[in-house]
Structure formats: C-alpha cells, structure tokens
Symmetry: C2
Subunit: 402 residues, 2 copies
C-alpha cells in the first residue's frame, strides 16, 4: 500500500490578486494584495465605523483586534498566545524593546548590533541614546563577527535575523545562547523572517522580538508592527512609551501610569483599526499551511532561481549565502548597474528591487510563487543582461523609492 499522497498546499495563488503579467519577487518589501482584503476594509469602514460609530469599539471587536492579530502572528513565530502586541511601526517597537532591555541591565552600557542591520533599527537606538543622554554606546560589527563581539559589557544584543540586503540569516538559537551566556538581553528583529522562515521564539528564549507585517505577512502598506516579550519577563518591563492603551485600566482615566499585567503594556495609542482589519484578513492565507512547508518551498524556489540566474547571467554575482540554511527567503545579486537593471526588469513585469549600493534583491513568497514563475523571471533577466537593455538612459532616472 502506498503512503497517502500529501495534497499540494502551496502555492495558494488563488488567495491573492496579482496583476496579469506580473512576476512579483518583492514580497520582502511589500506583500501582494490578499483576496478579501478590500472587502474586509470596506466592511470595517462602512458597516463598523459608518454603522456602529463609537460603539464599534465594543460591538465590532475593535478593542480586542490588536490582541487577536497578535495571537495569529504569534502562531507563525513560535510564540505563545498573549505574548505578542501589535501596533505602531517597527521603528517604535525597536525603541520599546531596546529601552526595556537597557533597563534590565542597568550596569551595562553597550548595545551591540551588526553593520548589516536595517538602518532604522540603528537610528532608533541612536535616538534612544541621545534621549537618555548618558554614556551608552551603539557598537556595530560585521554580521559574521557578532558572536565574538558579545562580551560582558554588552547590555543588549539587537540583530535582524535576515539581512535586508543579502538575505544572510543569523542563527537565532546560537546567538541568543551566546548573548545569555554573557548576561546580555537578546532582541530579534523579524522583519524579513515573520511568515518567511520558521522562527521559534519560545525555544530560543530571547527576551524580545519585533517585526513588521507588510512584507511576508501581506498586511498592506503601513500595516501595524508587532512586539514579542518573553512571558516570564513582561511584568518587569518598564515601558518607555507608556501610552494609555498599555495601561491596566485605560478607561479609568487615572492620573498615573500603571501598566497592564500582560504584553498589552507594550501597546501605546489608539490602534489603526482599518490596517489591522486588513492584516487580520491577510493572515487567513497562512491557514492550513505550516511554516516548515513554506520554508521548504522557499528553498526550492530560491535554489532554482540561483541556478537559473548563474547559468544565464554570468555578470551577476551572488550576494547571498550559497547555503540555503544561512539564507532567508530572498536572493540577492551584486551588479554595478543593479539599479538600472532592476528598472528594466520592472518594465518587463518582473518586480524585484534595488538596495544601495549595488544589490538586486529578489524575494520568494511561496504562498503565491511557483517554480515556473522563478524560471520565467530568470529568463527575462537573462534577456536584459544579454541585450544590455539596462543601458537605456530611461532606467537611470531615480525615483524616491526603488
């Protein structure tokens, strides 16, 4: 008797609205539109806001929505129920986590990060240090030097698991262990991880994690961010951003801040209900599929893309780790005229993006991509490189967002 055939669960292209003729390899920047998102927003706006008005905070479940969505994100990143708060932007969540982390190690003054981290993470720490106005230091080392740089003057290690340019992936378990061995607090930024690679927050035992939801979670432009706090610590966290919706009793309108006895203390102000509703709808696409299945499919897609591009485009140099175990769900190639080449690709319906100084970036979202897409994208890229189509001056005009 044969083993039962596992039904094909990926991709789920029918769950998304992708324009005809577009091969979208930029889900690592902004995920595509999930079907149902527009209808959900319309319901939130017309029926709930329009029809229920202020009552909708109760009758339409708006008050609970940040926590509902937080729990759904938690299930994708190995975090227990109730441990993830949603809202604000990733920058704000970074600030909250680092400020709380520093409070946990009052005798230490160093925040350690790496030079591959996304700039806003570093900027937010700069702003925090200036605000505190004491002798804190943001120390950045090369990504591969992080493990050796964790020492006993480090208060907080703050890393983004997957490098936004190269896709290089840190070993969360090992680095968290190293941070804890040195007595440091560990903060992971999951911007390029959530919904893309399996994450085991509970298992790695880090203190905090943060992330955004408009990339692989497909929450749409400006979708809310999230923050995880290890449940055994949450009652010790002193929120730097002590907003009323993190208060234990927001509507008691007390004069003094008294934080909620849960992850809710990491909420701040009024949640962006329309964006949260869209995100809630977007998360439906993850139903019935495991992060391990997504990861396996992602590796198949990215391995195939590397193979095709290297065979077809000898002038492009792989900028991502070759070993898929060390790579997130994206593949990058270095090319001096990468900006122009990406514009030429976009003009031909293959949407990737460019990151300074010379990185052509391609994200692989197995929820809506298959190997045929990937091969076709490589073929079109080959055509551009072979014909030097990227030399057309029109592709050199720089828009603000690329």
């Amino acid at each position: 008797m044969n083993a039962p055939v596992k039904p094909l669960t990926l991709p789920k292209k029918d769950r998304f609205d992708i324009p005809d003729g577009v091969l979208y390899l930029d889900g690592n920047s902004l995920g595509v539109l999930p079907k149902g998102a527009a209808e959900r927003a319309a319901r939130t706006i017309t029926q709930e806001w329009g029809g229920e008005l202020i009552k909708a905070w109760n009758t339409a479940g708006w008050m609970a929505l940040p926590q509902v969505v937080g729990d759904r994100i938690a299930s994708l990143i190995g975090a227990p129920e109730g441990s993830v708060a949603t809202g604000d932007t990733l920058s704000i969540k970074v600030y909250q986590a680092v400020a709380a982390g520093l409070k946990m190690r009052p005798d230490r003054k160093v925040i350690l990060s790496d030079t591959g981290n996304f700039p806003t993470d570093l900027y937010m720490v700069e702003g925090l240090i200036k605000t505190i106005g004491k002798d804190y230091e943001l120390r950045t080392v090369a990504p591969e030097a992080v493990a050796d740089a964790i020492c006993e003057d480090v208060a907080v290690v703050m890393l983004t698991q997957v490098d936004y340019r190269t896709g290089r992936m840190h070993d969360m378990a090992a680095l968290t262990k190293a941070a804890h061995a040195a007595g440091a607090v560990m903060i992971w930024d999951l911007a390029h991880s959530a919904g893309a690679v399996p994450v085991d927050l509970a298992g790695c035992h880090c203190e905090f994690a943060v992330g955004c939801s408009y990339k692989y979670l497909n929450g749409g432009p400006g979708a809310p961010a999230f923050i995880y706090c290890r449940p055994d610590l949450v009652e010790t966290v002193e929120p730097a951003l002590a907003g009323w919706l993190g208060h234990d009793a927001p509507f008691a309108m007390e004069m003094n801040y008294r934080p909620a006895m849960s992850t809710e203390r990491l909420r701040i102000g009024t949640p962006s209900i329309v964006q949260l509703s869209i995100l809630d709808e977007a998360l439906n696409a993850f139903e019935g599929v495991t992060m391990d299945e997504i990861r396996a499919a992602s590796i198949r897609l990215s391995e195939r893309f590397i193979q095709e591009v290297e065979a077809r485009c000898p002038m492009l140099v792989l900028a991502s780790p070759r070993n898929p175990d060390n790579r997130g769900s994206q593949v990058s190639f270095a090319f001096e005229n990468g900006y122009e080449a990406i514009q030429a690709l976009i003009a031909r319906g293959v949407i990737g993006d460019f990151r300074a100084p010379n990185i052509m970036r391609f994200g692989f979202t197995p929820l809506y991509l298959d190997e045929t897409d990937v091969v076709k994208a490589a073929e079109i890229l080959e055509g551009i490189m072979a014909s030097e189509a990227w030399k057309d001056p029109k592709y050199a005009v720089r828009a603000r967002v690329t």
Copy 2:
C-alpha cells in the same frame, strides 16, 4: 440695497453617511464616516496596492501622502505649509514633542501640565522621565492654576487646549506668552481642537503642537496623528524617535542618522497608507468652509443644547464652562448615574459618551449637526431623565469602551 445673503455653508450633512435615526453627539471621540472614504480606501487597496504593488510608493503618491495630509491639517490650525508631519499616534507625537522640548532647555527639569489633561499625555511624560532616568519632574496643577505655576524652573509647559471631560478651553495665546516669558517651551495638544475651534499656531508662536485626526477631522478609527514644529526651530530639533523616514535620505541606507532639514524629521516609520488615504478624503469636508464659520455654528449648537437641557433636565449639572469663549466644541453634564444615562440615550439613538467619574459628554460637529438635531437630542434626554429610564439594570453593564 440689502447686503448679499451669505449662502448657508453648514451643515454639510450630505458629505457624511450617518445611520438613519442616529443623533451623533460623539464626534469628539470618533468622527462619523465621510462619504467617499470607503471608495478611497478601496482605490488605495485594490488599484494602488493591488495593481501597482511596490511601485505605488512612487506612482500613487504614497511617499508624499504624509506631507500632503500634513499641509491640509496645517491649513486648519493656523500653521504654515510644511510645518506639520503626520503619522503614528498622538501618544507618540506627545513623546516626540516633550523629548525635543526638554533638549531645548537642558538646565531645567520640570514639565508642567494640568490635572485635566488627557491621561496618555501624562503617561507618556512619565515614561519619558523614566527613560531619561534623571531628576525630571512632571508637575500637574489644576487647569485654572496653570498660569501662576509657570515659573523659571519649568522646561516645558504641555497642555491640551480643550479638556476632554469638561470642554474647558485654555487661552493658547496668553499661556504661550506666559510660558515664553518664563523661558519655557510650549506644547499644545489639539486633540479636541483641530477641526473644532480656530487655532492660530503661527500667531501664538508655540514651539510644538500635536493632535489626532479621528475626532473632529473624521479620519476614522486609528487615523494617524500629527505634530507641528515652529519652522524656525525645526533644524535644531534632535528627534528622540529617530526613524528612517525622518532621515534626510531614507533610501541611501546610511549607517548613521542624519535628520531631514524639515518637519519630515518628525516622521518615524512607514506611514499607514490606507488610514492616511481615508483621512485625506475626510479632509475634503472642510473645503469651502472656514474655521470661524465652524466655530460660530458650534457655539450656536452648544448654547442651544445647554439651554434645552437645563430647561428640561434639572438633575443634570453643567460641567462645562458657561461662557462659550472658554469652551471647546463639547458640552458636559455631571450626573451620578451618568454612565447608565448615556447607555439609555444610546439605546434611543442619541450617541454621546461617558467619562469617569460622572461626566456625560456631548460633542458638536457643525459639519453634520444642526439645531433640530440638538433639540431632538435634548428632548430624548428629557424623556430618559423624567422616566428614570436609566435605572433599568441593563444599562449598568459596563463595556470596555464607553
């Protein structure tokens, strides 16, 4: 010859979708749904996000939208173009303003506010002080004692112009002058002012102002907040929340924060594009009407409401200033069983709200209310008070948001 008859410009009920049978006196909590908002959101989601994907940041004007909306808000609060940044929540904007204000007066340690201020403003200052970890003091005095409490150890005076409970309105010009005479930085919270009363930020010369857009601006639940910085100061502001979209060149991905040379430095992370689009649409309702006209209509409505309620409901005690010059666009009555009375009112289609401990709160938005509405609301309130309908036990069940 007669003077030309001024066309009636208010109310503009046809610009809003208000449910049949509802008299909405809660625009000071959540404004009603402007017509066109759902269609605008649908366009942003389906055509822009769905159709343009990542390109929409340029092609659909998403990158510029925070500034476009900021300029529209600026025009309603007496601020020049380019002086208002939008995004995040009001709590975050309070933090930015106070942190920046303290940096401007490094030798002073007191933040002065009043006990009528909305709790989150006070909480955010508490959080900021704990983050700085030095001997700062949040000093709160009664609203009427603020002027006398401004002295030379005050670094920042932070006040909400219109009290969220009583509607009592501070004199912005006089208090700003007093703050400046004592060498303090002045921050105004316009949560209950923007779109409700004329504000002259440029004229009052305050350093900062902040506000939200889901009350009288009708931006919807979770609409973005705003912050004003006096243009001559903006280049000296050190952002505490130093996010990448406040960077002078966000897409250069530099390692170090270098703030934009404009109010844009008060932006932080990725803007909530769907909510911003809705707000942009909502602001259309302010076209063709001046804030002075809105104010005149607001006073007519609130004066009439006070007169009707006092004549009909002797057990309700006016909790707002009697002189309309000292009152924003709301009227509050104190009543021991105010919570239950508001629930009974809501059940009869008159939506006001309750604020602890005993305040029945009624907001007047002249864009969609007229005197007939106000008289009808007072009649229904009279019926409830006369019949003691509020004693029905079903009205005592407390929901989380009231």
